[in-house]
Symmetry: C2
């Protein structure tokens, strides 16, 4: 089936939102923790956080100003800091509940039964239940002219994580932490690793790696395609 520009434009708006949101592939599941200048806490689930660079360590995020994430946007612009907390299977429903349109004085932590957690050097609240917590300082903000969404770029200040999830070569086994992935607007998925693959070079065979980054066998992949 070929859906062209015209047939997409003719879709019922909510149907189109569910359809288009599904097309980029699997997305990250994160809770963004913020405070306003009076210390009122806010928490919002986003599937739009993305890697932007390792040196300096940067992450981007897209926020729709008219959405339920508007308090998150206002707080980040006011305080210049926020937290990014990976969502796990265990508190998935709580995380999803933060997407309800609560008032600015209402804390989504309380409404969704999640626990704010602070470290001494940083002013935004983490989600205690999350096994992977990032403290972010806002370093760039722009409104994208094309559709009025807001691009926020933050630099990672702190990474709170169990050492057991960090592999010797730096790779973090987020699957072992039960971190979820999102498809579309509302579908949550756990994952199962097929494998890691070696750095690709022209005229050289790939080889599989264990999650620790050690050479492994193709058996785990179970595909004829791989033994080349």
């Amino acid at each position: 089936m070929n859906y062209d520009s015209h047939s997409i434009a003719m879709m019922e708006p909510k149907t189109r939102a569910r359809f288009i949101n599904s097309l980029s592939g699997f997305k990250s599941a994160n809770l963004i923790g913020t405070c306003d200048l009076d210390g009122n806490e806010n928490l919002a689930i986003v599937s739009s956080a993305f890697h932007l660079g390792a040196t300096p360590p940067l992450m981007g995020m897209i926020i729709r100003p008219s959405s339920v994430e508007r308090h998150t946007l206002e707080n980040i612009l006011a305080t210049k800091c926020y937290t990014i907390n990976s969502v796990t299977h265990e508190f998935l429903a709580s995380a999803h509940q933060t997407s309800a349109r609560y008032g600015k004085q209402e804390s989504e932590f309380e409404k969704a039964n999640l626990t704010p957690y602070y470290i001494s050097e940083f002013n935004a609240p983490f989600v205690m239940e999350s096994p992977l917590k990032l403290a972010m300082n806002l370093v760039e903000h722009q409104t994208l002219a094309i559709n009025g969404t807001e691009l926020l770029i933050g630099e990672i200040q702190h990474v709170l994580i169990s050492d057991t999830a960090v592999m010797p070569d730096g790779y973090v086994d987020i699957e072992a932490l039960d971190i979820l992935t999102i498809s579309g607007l509302d579908s949550y998925h756990i994952t199962q690793r097929v494998g890691r693959l070696s750095y690709a070079k022209p005229d050289q065979k790939l080889h599989p790696l264990t999650k620790e980054g050690e050479p492994s066998s193709w058996d785990a992949f179970g595909l004829s395609d791989f033994d080349r």
Copy 2:
């Protein structure tokens, strides 16, 4: 463990790249198909494509100009069009092989044993093996001052997909298409749906949905957290 800015800055560069690339969560797995003005085909795997908006239907993508994706960037800027093709379990190794640094005249389609596919109305090559193919027109391009990466924004022109994967409410079951997700630089994962959840409202209980968007039961989730 708390990794702060200083300890991140002191990491060995490849270790830091693997570490920071893991922190945003699960990422999409896509092959970007392009041609140069002479018709030489190029194909590159990216994990940086992200949803930007449904009306108009927009997708963003980050490219590092010094990376192996530089031919992709050059071709998109020259021709203003590209394809985004979801990567499945079946051709995972072929997709990963496209990240090798081939010469500009060499086609990654050929090197990775993937099949270029064209439709009459569009000039960039799709990957025939992919079950979800998008034709994109470049609508915005900027260099992000903060780290010199390139942000490309495209508008979806065509979506080629089997109708059986499109649910009645518009949601696309990308899991049923065996589409993969990526963590870090080189780890590939299949998924298993926990479930979809209803639109969240204040003071109203969430309810689970089938993948078709119909009311379902909490049993599938198997978590006490959900029955609230």
